[in-house]
């Protein structure tokens, strides 16, 4: 009797479940079907055309690659490490072995499996000669235990590994395709396991992608884990800000990345356009060569930090599309430290006087018969030149004579190898603390990367220590010391954090973006 009742309950439960699931299916299927029917072609306006699509042969990255390639680990909008191809991971107590468990059934667009062996091949190939080999320099070996288990054996504990496997240069390519196409890989095709398949690339003009209908392994933090809604995505490369603005307003483009600050008000006034402003991962700063007078004196460098009215630059040059910068790291990146420098001409004058600089009859600072006259380098980009002009007048207010020298972007980077720079305006875009090592390690002076030419044994020691720290907390602690010391040394004057400004047509739903990318997977036309 009792077993009959149990059976009846089970039957009832199963029946109810079936009814619910069919209701859910009914509710979901038309929704997806409608979205797919409405979402035929998406046009994304990008500023810069990529040189190649192979992550093995360039460190340039581009938005289309984020749709073509999956990574081992992804990062959500709050910069938390989340699943991508790997659904989970763990690290051994000594920090030397990382074990990643991959999602089963992930396939590349060429039909080959994207399994542990393929991921291991990508990591070893990049480490042994890829353009971004530094990403995996701590990896001694990558072992595919089985198709879904990957072990990374490290030479030393490297708590920043998750950042490296999740950044834009770590996309997983099909080993079969890389070997098949050889030198042409990244030039004529690129094969990954992402929601979109590479279709066409007209160099310097556009890249066309087609939906991957078999995609079912989207990261869990996205609202869509299945195939993307848009059938075709066209990335158009448009350097002209005005053209991008007009295309979006006329509906000939759906998403604009890197919106010019001057276009924001027009977009906000347009009911057909939505503007998304989030904090970015870029910093514009003025660098000072610590080996060249007068900036070989730390007091003079500190004075420069007090001279700059950052709030005025934020408002007048960038129309408020970003934040005034006081740290060397961007706002999302730890460790942030308290900066002593604000706009304070009195403090600047005191420091300059302490350093022996006094004003002559013309109001120009002088020391030992030498005028305080400097050359300020800048790239010939509109906002950089505007900043240089503001800085020139701010320096003039305390008696510094600055001459602006402009360079085109092709030659600017190369000029730093000469070591002739005195003061220069520069931008970097990176969202990890190790950028400080990149710009301040003395071993990078010759290559022109350490542009302030700071050769400091304490800093070099701290950089080595930071790399060997067993945990992220310890690493952050060391970088905090580095950051505080660098602020004191003032070889950079942080100026502005440009915001990440994007705009998209108001008829798009599912807008989901991180610092790096607008995730097309979630986007659909309403």
């Amino acid at each position: 009797m009792q077993s009959k009742r149990i059976t009846a309950y089970v039957v009832l439960f199963v029946g109810l479940m079936l009814v619910f699931s069919s209701l859910i299916t009914v509710a979901q299927t038309p929704d997806r079907a409608t979205r797919e029917a409405n979402s035929t072609t998406l046009v994304v306006a990008e500023t810069t055309s990529p040189p190649t699509l192979s992550t093995f042969t360039t460190t340039w990255t581009t938005e289309p690659l984020e749709d073509i390639l999956n990574k081992l680990v992804s990062r959500d909008a709050e910069l938390n490490y989340r699943d991508d191809i790997a659904q989970s991971w763990e690290v051994s107590a000594d920090g030397l072995v990382w074990t990643f468990t991959l999602k089963p059934g992930v396939m590349f667009h060429d039909g080959t499996p994207c399994d542990a062996e393929a991921v291991a091949w990508n990591i070893v190939t990049m480490r042994d000669g890829g353009a971004s080999s530094y990403l995996y320099s701590a990896v001694q070996d990558a072992v595919a235990v089985d198709s879904v288990t990957l072990k990374l054996i490290l030479k030393n504990p490297f708590p920043n590994l998750l950042y490296n496997v999740s950044n834009s240069f770590s996309g997983i390519n099909s080993p079969t395709a890389v070997e098949k196409y050889g030198e042409d890989y990244g030039v004529t095709t690129v094969v990954g396991s992402g929601p979109y398949i590479f279709k066409e690339w007209v160099k310097g003009d556009h890249i066309t992608l087609e939906r991957n209908p078999d995609y079912t392994w989207g990261p869990s933090w996205m609202s869509n884990q299945g195939p993307a809604y848009f059938q075709t995505v066209i990335y158009k490369f448009i350097p002209e800000a005005v053209t991008k603005t007009m295309l979006l307003q006329a509906g000939e483009a759906d998403v604009v990345n890197e919106v010019d600050a001057t276009a924001i008000s027009a977009f906000k006034a347009d009911p057909n356009v939505t503007v998304s402003i989030t904090s970015g991962k870029r910093l514009i700063y003025m660098g000072l060569n610590v080996t060249k007078p007068p900036f070989d004196d730390v007091r003079v460098r500190q004075a420069m930090s007090y001279i700059v009215d950052r709030e005025s630059i934020t408002e007048n040059v960038f129309h408020g599309a970003g934040l005034s910068a006081y740290n060397f790291l961007t706002p999302n990146v730890q460790p942030q430290v308290e900066s002593p420098y604000t706009y304070d001409l009195q403090k600047a004058n005191t420091l300059l006087a302490d350093a022996g600089w006094t004003k002559n009859a013309d109001g120009i600072l002088e020391k030992d018969g030498q005028q305080f006259a400097i050359i300020l380098w800048t790239e010939s980009i509109t906002d950089r030149v505007q900043i240089a002009t503001v800085l020139q007048s701010e320096m003039a207010a305390v008696g510094i004579k600055a001459t602006i020298q402009q360079f085109d972007s092709g030659s600017y980077g190369d000029m730093f190898k000469t070591g002739e720079q005195q003061a220069f305006i520069r931008l970097y875009g990176w969202d990890d603390m190790d950028i400080l090592e990149w710009f301040y390690n003395s071993k990078r002076i010759a290559a022109g990367t350490n542009k302030t030419r700071m050769n400091n044994s304490l800093l070099d020691f701290l950089f080595v220590k930071a790399e060997a720290m067993p945990t992220l907390e310890d690493r952050t602690f060391v970088y905090r010391l580095v950051h505080e010391y660098l602020l004191d040394q003032s070889a950079w004057v942080p100026i502005f954090y440009p915001a990440q400004v994007r705009a998209y047509r108001a008829d798009l739903g599912g807008y989901n973006a991180t610092l790096d990318h607008v995730y097309i997977l979630d986007l659909y036309r309403k």
Partner: protein, 307 residues
């Protein structure tokens, strides 16, 4: 000298000019600062990848060897491989050159078809409203920067009236606005030249004689006056070809047309030596051939001209 001998002579004379172009462009590119490999790989690329790419492209060799290997390849019509795109320059340029020629050709035809009649009308109706309007339009054409005119036309015909797409390529509707923008400045020059040249001719005695013989006025103008007046206009044609190709750079950027001008600008920024050398060489050939065409046309419009 027959016209064929003349053409052969001019083509042979092209060779030293082109050689000089290659030497000048090669020297300038290597004199200005900027490392194409570093720009292609990115600042953070490993030294190993950097060294490998320099060796692959032969950039680790002395300059004179690089130049002679470029010349050697040129004899086989091989312009080398793009540093940035890692693709054969000839292949990269193929479709883009056609796009540029389509744009410049349309602009040239448009400017001559509109400007010559306009200039004639202004000359014939000298000091009338028609003359003032025509020359006012011509002055506007000479003075308005082409990129600004481009944005104005987009604003009116694409955004307000929706007659043409804003930018892109793929058919006649994508060609109209860029061709008008590019041709407008040139049309203004041609119209002014036609007017002044025709005015000079129609005051001459043989025109008076033709009129006195009772010929119809427009027959005198088109058959007798215009033919002689065309000489300076044809000279302008040769010069216009070079100017149009230069102007196409801006128009291709504004209207997003994938042509050699747009490619050249990005290649200069990225110090992509093979592309810059290849495009410059092709443009030099086009300009020289354009001038040759103008020289040949002299004989066509005026039988008195001999070579």
């Amino acid at each position: 000298m027959s016209i064929y001998q003349y053409i052969l002579k001019r083509i042979l004379m092209m060779l030293p000019v082109l050689l000089a172009v290659t030497i000048i462009v090669f020297s300038i590119l290597h004199l200005v600062p900027g490392d194409p490999v570093r720009l292609a790989l990115g600042e953070m690329a490993s030294q190993q990848a950097y060294d490998r790419m320099r060796a692959e492209l032969g950039l680790d060799k002395p300059l004179y060897i690089q130049y002679f290997s470029f010349l050697g390849r040129l004899f086989h019509l091989d312009l080398g491989k793009s540093v940035i795109y890692r693709e054969d320059v000839t292949k990269l340029l193929g479709g883009k050159l056609l796009n540029t020629l389509e744009l410049t050709g349309s602009a040239l035809i448009l400017s001559y078809f509109c400007a010559v009649p306009l200039g004639m009308l202004a000359a014939v109706k000298r000091n009338t409203v028609i003359d003032y309007l025509s020359m006012g339009l011509a002055i506007a054409g000479v003075s308005i920067p082409s990129f600004w005119l481009g944005f104005l036309l987009i604003s009116l015909f694409s955004i307000q009236l929706h007659w043409f797409p804003i930018a892109g390529y793929g058919g006649i509707k994508y060609l109209v606005l860029p061709a008008v923008t590019l041709g407008f400045g040139g049309a203004a020059q041609v119209a002014r030249m036609t007017r002044s040249s025709l005015l000079e001719v129609i005051n001459q005695d043989y025109i008076l004689t033709a009129k006195a013989k009772g010929l119809r006025y427009w027959t005198v103008i088109t058959k007798h006056a215009l033919r002689n007046a065309l000489i300076p206009i044809v000279t302008l044609l040769g010069l216009r070809i070079g100017w149009l190709i230069g102007g196409a750079v801006v128009i291709e950027i504004v209207f997003l047309r994938p042509g050699v001008g747009r490619l050249l600008v990005s290649a200069i920024y990225m110090r992509d030596f093979p592309i810059v050398q290849g495009v410059t060489l092709i443009l030099a050939v086009t300009v020289i051939l354009g001038n040759l065409l103008a020289d040949i046309l002299y004989a066509v419009v005026n039988p008195k001209v001999h070579y």
